[in-house]
């Protein structure tokens, strides 16, 4: 009997696992029909009493919280009274700001901050196992829940919907070892994957050691996992530890923003598409139309400027060195490089000088007579270099110093 039951369960296990292309063994993320049926039965058996206990408010939890777990309550009460006194002072200061904010809010017509469609649900039970960080919601397929929907609280993300039953749903928390969420560190902008460890703490795995990561840095969702919208709070960095398997990698332990151990009410993001009011949609349509017209105008301007550039002559620099003769075997320029490569200016065509002197190009310098006191100029300290009659440098004519001329 023992062997029969054991063999049957081992065969059942073998059906549920599969080998990936990389050779790793993994569980099927999507349960088969038989497995799903068993889960459905277990859910149908266990969740009604759980729901009853949750709604009756007479369970062990309320008994524990209201009557037994009252440690440090007196000290907390004193601290709270001090806090109240401080907050009263701050309240007076903030009152005026609040009024101003209300006026601005009315001015902007900004009614809803959160643009995703959500559904509130109660957490009614868990898996009961340390190795399986899942919990159950009191909403299911009948309420519009589907697999892989993000589950959040006002504090931060909680997990994703793993399985959906008619009136309940199973949520895989972010501190489970099989979970995975794309996250980003707010300051250092380092991305990683968040998953749970054996102690039930979420940790970012697979990132290189980086001294910039410090405890206290905020962790946000990166938005690349197609489940959690970008920018939702995940938690703060608690500590950084070395990856035991890989030397150059670290694990960043994250203190979750949401209280994963004591969840009560959560929100399920039922639609990742932004939810806009009709006025906002109209504004966006107007904006899109304006952007389209603007883009068309810019395109026309670019086309006109290209046409103008083709028709106008190019600029040449007369002082540039002459272009080397094209080699017979030279590689022709690529088609895309024709316009980008600077055109070599042609050699300047010098005009004939009407009154050539010894500084004019093409005229051989006359041999100077033997230096005599009459004709030999004495160079002076700080004197200007010899110039021609137009005040130009030797060897340069007025034509050459003129502005570069356009060549067709």
């Amino acid at each position: 009997m023992l062997l029969v039951i054991l063999v049957a369960q081992i065969v059942g296990l073998a059906v549920q696992v599969r080998r990936t292309d990389a050779g790793r063994v993994t569980l099927d993320p999507q349960d088969g029909p038989g497995v799903r049926l068993i889960r459905l039965w277990a859910d149908a058996l266990v969740t009604p009493p759980e729901r009853l206990m949750h709604s009756s408010k007479l369970g062990f939890g309320s008994l524990w919280q209201d009557y037994l777990d009252l440690r440090h309550v007196r000290q907390q009460n004193q601290d709270l009274e001090k806090t109240i006194d401080r907050l009263r002072l701050e309240q007076a200061e903030l009152l005026e700001d609040a009024h101003q904010g209300q006026r601005l809010q009315a001015l902007m017509g900004f009614q809803e901050k959160y643009i995703y469609k959500t559904l509130a649900a109660q957490a009614i039970g868990s898996s009961g196992s340390d190795q399986s960080r899942v919990f159950y919601l009191d909403k299911g397929a009948a309420d519009g829940l589907e697999r892989d929907m993000a589950v959040i609280t006002a504090d931060g993300i909680v997990g994703k919907v793993r399985d959906v039953f008619p009136h309940t749903a199973q949520v895989l928390a972010i501190n489970d070892q099989t979970s995975g969420a794309g996250v980003i560190l707010e300051t250092t902008r380092i991305r990683g994957i968040l998953r749970g460890n054996a102690a039930g703490q979420p940790q970012i795995v697979g990132i290189m050691a980086d001294q910039r990561i410090q405890p206290g840095e905020k962790v946000l969702t990166a938005g690349g996992d197609q489940i959690f919208p970008r920018g939702l709070p995940v938690g703060v960095v608690e500590k950084v530890v070395r990856d035991p398997d890989r030397d150059s990698f670290i694990d960043v332990i994250v203190k979750p923003a949401a209280h994963l151990d004591r969840l009560d009410e959560v929100l399920v993001i039922t639609s990742a598409l932004p939810r806009f009011s009709p006025e906002q949609q109209q504004d966006m349509a107007t904006s899109d139309a304006l952007k389209g017209a603007e883009a068309a105008t810019i395109k026309e301007q670019q086309k006109a400027s290209e046409l103008m550039a083709e028709r106008l002559p190019g600029l040449t620099d007369p002082n540039a060195p002459p272009a080397p003769a094209a080699q017979p075997g030279a590689t022709p320029p690529a088609p895309g490089q024709e316009q980008a490569a600077p055109a070599t200016p042609p050699a300047p065509k010098l005009m004939h000088t009407q009154h050539p002197d010894r500084f004019s190009p093409g005229t051989a310098p006359e041999a100077l007579p033997e230096a005599t006191d009459e004709v030999k100029p004495k160079p002076r300290q700080g004197a200007k270099s010899p110039q021609n009659k137009e005040g130009l440098a030797p060897g340069v004519t007025s034509k050459q110093t003129a502005k570069p001329r356009r060549t067709p």
Partner: protein, 173 residues
């Protein structure tokens, strides 16, 4: 510890319970196991289905019934988790069988024996779970023996309190 003949003990002390107890007590254990961790958070160091499996296996002294009870409880636990169905099932099947086999041979009324039995069987269940998950299936699983040790201690303490209460539910001639 008094060790007696197996047939003698079985004939002498087979316990019988109302049918409702067989149905409701395991169900209550499963529901509480799923619900209490929400209240106690990470301090939920116990495994009520395991305790109930051990109790009925010891009380009935039938390895077959202990095996079936363990398999049923383990499969339900698996069904409520995101694990493959059968991991806890196999672990608790073995535990149920062993508890019933031991119960035939020793005096299970003794509190110390109950305490030690629950502690050892809890550790055995954890070891089988890890063996199946990491060796048999080859899946990745981080493990904390401290937690399993605490869970074994928690199970023992709960058994110490719960077993006398459940003893009151048996049918007496």
């Amino acid at each position: 510890m008094s060790v007696l003949g197996a047939d003698f003990r079985r004939d002498l002390e087979i316990r019988r319970y109302p049918l409702l107890v067989y149905a409701l007590v395991p169900l209550a254990a499963l529901v509480l196991q799923a619900w209490l961790p929400r209240v106690l958070g990470r301090y939920a160091w116990f495994d009520l289905p395991l305790v109930i499996t051990v109790y009925f296996a010891l009380g009935r002294r039938s390895p077959i019934q202990g095996t079936i009870m363990g398999a049923a409880m383990g499969l339900f636990e698996d069904a409520l988790s995101n694990h493959a169905i059968g991991v806890n099932g196999i672990a608790k099947t073995v535990v149920g069988f062993l508890a019933a086999s031991v119960g035939v041979r020793i005096d299970v009324e003794n509190h110390t024996i109950r305490l030690i039995l629950n502690f050892l069987l809890s550790l055995l269940s954890s070891a089988i779970f890890v063996f199946i998950y990491r060796i048999l299936l080859g899946l990745d699983l981080e493990w904390s023996w401290i937690t399993e040790l605490l869970k074994a201690v928690g199970n023992s303490i709960i058994a110490l309190v719960l077993f006398p209460l459940l003893d009151r539910l048996q049918i007496r001639d």
